[in-house]
Subunit: 342 residues, 2 copies
Amino acid sequence: MTDFLKQFSDDLLPTLEQEMQTVLQVNRQVKPDAFYGMMHYHMGWVDADLNPVMVKSGKRIRPLSCLLTCAAIGGNWQQAIPAAAAIELLHNFSLIHDDIEDAGLTRRGRDTVWKIWGIEQAINIGDAMFALAHLAMNRLIEHGVTADIVIQALRRFDETSIHLTQGQHADMDFETRNHVTVEEYVAMITGKTAVMLALCTELGALIAGAAPQIVQHYHQFGRSLGLAFQIIDDILGIWGDENLTGKSAATDILTKKKTFPVLYGLSQSRELQTLYANNEANDSFVINVVNLLDQYGAYDYARQTALTHSQNALSHLESAQPQGPHGEALFQLANTLLKRDY
Amino acid sequence: MTDFLKQFSDDLLPTLEQEMQTVLQVNRQVKPDAFYGMMHYHMGWVDADLNPVMVKSGKRIRPLSCLLTCAAIGGNWQQAIPAAAAIELLHNFSLIHDDIEDAGLTRRGRDTVWKIWGIEQAINIGDAMFALAHLAMNRLIEHGVTADIVIQALRRFDETSIHLTQGQHADMDFETRNHVTVEEYVAMITGKTAVMLALCTELGALIAGAAPQIVQHYHQFGRSLGLAFQIIDDILGIWGDENLTGKSAATDILTKKKTFPVLYGLSQSRELQTLYANNEANDSFVINVVNLLDQYGAYDYARQTALTHSQNALSHLESAQPQGPHGEALFQLANTLLKRDY
């Protein structure tokens, strides 16, 4: 990160955290009740006994892109803080439910909510956080955003939420199927990853009062950025340098995960289909699969697709004409996500 | 029901159903995809194979009370249709998740969503319906309601949703505990039942453009009505005429359900506590429990409490001064819910 991007991120993160804590009823003088306590635990503010802890938060790319967009249009990013908080809460609500649906035992190195308090309570607490994310959006009014814009932002917020659940539906459905097309996969990651980033930049633009055409460019920027990011992730999951990714190379092959390059390979090679259908995943399986993927151009195809989405993202960002240092920082943020070694 | 109330109900139900079907993307020419199909199944529009069926819907008391309130203030109830649809979808989202949390196998005589499609998909489909309920609210704009009122209505919608999840949290928590106070129970049913009815009447009043004081009276009317209704239900669960309730009398004792009269009895009688702690529920257990409840005044106390809430409800409704035949119908609706034989 450049100095300006880092400085901006350092400036806004405490404000964002404060906003989320206000919405989630944090009172530092009093231990939370069990209801809010489960949410505070998931956010990394308390431990499983509901005592205060400090857990390092993520990079908060989503709220960061929302606020940078707002500022790059000449808007006041402080005004967009409730939307940034709402997006982060929406993301975290979906993680609480995804962890149940995927039977995930740990998240960010800690037990998941359902693992500690059971599936029933975790479903309900996720629902509560979804409702609270909406209340966070509603606070835009108190920050001086007009009711018309808040209504429009809320509509996009919920349309995106539906798209998210469609992505999750497809993801779970794929687990039960042998045959998934590349197109179906792209539709799935559009729902699970891309529309969320599109929402971030779109809400930043809406709150800054941008013209519809500019809002659209920011939407497309976020969407293409999300698609490129996910496909790069998929490439790194097979051909990534384990020193950089922190996962052993080809992890996604060992788990037989249906990612972009694998689905492309399966669509091109009957030999690969047979290999996948008839073999357990072990070291020689991984070597054979990676060889076939290389042979049938899966790496090149994935790389080219990621590049196309990256170029689309940057081209929409250029068309949006972001201004000043925040505009520069948006390009830098995009490059941080796109220019990983693949 | 009187003729007018029945006529009004007959008039609005198709409009309401149409609105919900629009929000849930029903297209009668095409079979729904699996994603929307699960929601259509829950709503009783298709069977488990996603083919059209006709399932008798409930009495739709919630949307009915919303629309009657709007009309009794002189508002146009057609304008409030999106809010009525949103409330019914909110209710149904919570049923989909409650059925998972309570391990309920059937609802309205049909398999529950999770029973057919699994817990994972049912969680996700509930989330989708919650998001769609918000989009239903957003459609108030297209019905000419001002953005300011829609924002206010949405805030109350989400505050109520949080209250609902708090009630559900408490309900699940009670299952794990031996000792629950009457006050805790009342707080729980306030969340699970009363605030939902309060939301119905409050939104009807907000959309009609009523003054804050009138909105408050309608809120309190719905809230007290809900509390009275639930406590009457609890009384009927023990002393009800099985010919009228359709359940055998004292069902709630056989299942050791912690309802209002039982919790009051337990707070008054150590003998009852010992009986509950040490005995399996069988016929002689039921007889002994009911005797003790009678002896310690649980019936009288519950009846008196229900009466107080009923009087509060009607007194707030009178203060709100509902007008015309719709106002009359509101009193009749309240009496239908309150004047059951207990």
